[in-house]
Symmetry: C2
Subunit: 280 residues, 2 copies
Amino acid sequence: MKISIIGAGLIGGSMALKLREKGIARFIYGIDHSQQHINDALELKIIDAEADLEQGVRNSDLIIIAIPVDAARKLLPDVLDLVSDHQTVMDAGSTKAGIVNAVKDHPKRSRFVAFHPMWGTENNGPKSAIAESFSGKAGVICNKEESADDALNTVEKVVNALDMHIIYMNAEDHDIHTAYISHISHITSYALANTVLEKEREEETIFQLASSGFSSTVRLAKSHPEMWVPIFKQNKENVLDVLNEHITQLRKFKAALEKENYEYLEELITNANRIRGILR
Amino acid sequence: MKISIIGAGLIGGSMALKLREKGIARFIYGIDHSQQHINDALELKIIDAEADLEQGVRNSDLIIIAIPVDAARKLLPDVLDLVSDHQTVMDAGSTKAGIVNAVKDHPKRSRFVAFHPMWGTENNGPKSAIAESFSGKAGVICNKEESADDALNTVEKVVNALDMHIIYMNAEDHDIHTAYISHISHITSYALANTVLEKEREEETIFQLASSGFSSTVRLAKSHPEMWVPIFKQNKENVLDVLNEHITQLRKFKAALEKENYEYLEELITNANRIRGILR
């Protein structure tokens, strides 16, 4: 089929590469505000041609919106205005309630399938795109009952081609779960980077000493604000809930240390170790 | 040379494998309270023979202490009591001021070299040992002026054989830097695991959704209390300093979200992104 990728960056680009490899995509239009991204995507054969929004959308069987979540929510109604009953629109955003609510009453709502691939890195742009990015990861489809059967089938075919396992979920539940499973990790990582940058004045020492443990906890702090401010904004209530709980949990470690209560400290750590049974 | 490894676990075992591979170790004694570790280490050819403390120490050119930091601090004076001026003792602990102070006035102080390899994983035991673990990482030698030249030379040869780059540091400075570069990462990771385990009741959902970002931030929460309680205990003041700063930094994210001050949120994230220039 013919596909338009709106946002030829890390996520859109990785999807394009894999869908072409799997023979799902015969022709791919790239739509992006950044001429640099378009040029890179053309050169890397991620897309076949540049298009403007109307041209791309009108000529595609599938339109994939892979731009920051606030922009996606704003753009989706315009895209749906352009599509016929033979076309499918999907997004790839990290928050789902906002976008689903934005088109709740749109006459073409059923052409849209709300999707979130549980993958990302701290990098961005088409040069970071990798075909195998999604393999083995979860692909969440939200509010599937609001999508037409054929649109849903198209997206399921796409998600299978990405080698992801599909999870169906309500958009509100999705946003609660991702606050825990993804959004809070980014906040702790940003805060950890700021902690170190604030107090550890010897940058050379950071660089020389940094252990693999530190690098893996701080890796996410490299993620760009263009993507993450909109996510935190759209999922504000859930993120605040989790953040409050996280600060409470950190205070327990603080109390254990201040009171030199090492039995309690051991208890806190032993409890945290239970994550071994869940994350393999 | 002949080497005794006291604590034939992840760190001691990995050092043994590499030192044998490099031809530095001709014969390796294993000394460990855990018979299981001894049996595993023998089977994996990490050690050549089991020994008790006195037998191992008396017959070795180099004694490597790779046990939890509180136990190491307690044991080191006994080991130094046993050694002659032709033998060298090194440790591999994550805190350094405590152990250095414990032997400050020991008549054999100069036979000891305080060492910390900046590597570890959330796993333990000889079965997790890997010869290449240390390659390219930093190996910190503390208070080198308190060690005899020949003992220092021996340890430098060992650290080079581990393919680590050597950093010399004062023990107090080491403990401040590692509070930032390693210890706080473990606390945030434990607290993050506890946050998720406290509020996210659907363990199956955690497992299914967990993204690579979450896994990398929570990975350290699998680390065992036997190792980490003693580290936090010995580095309490520094860890508390950093933890307080970290909670302050998290509160800034909380304030930005609560007040819907997204310019401030962007500023916080942009500041955190500076870690890109430091951690490559």
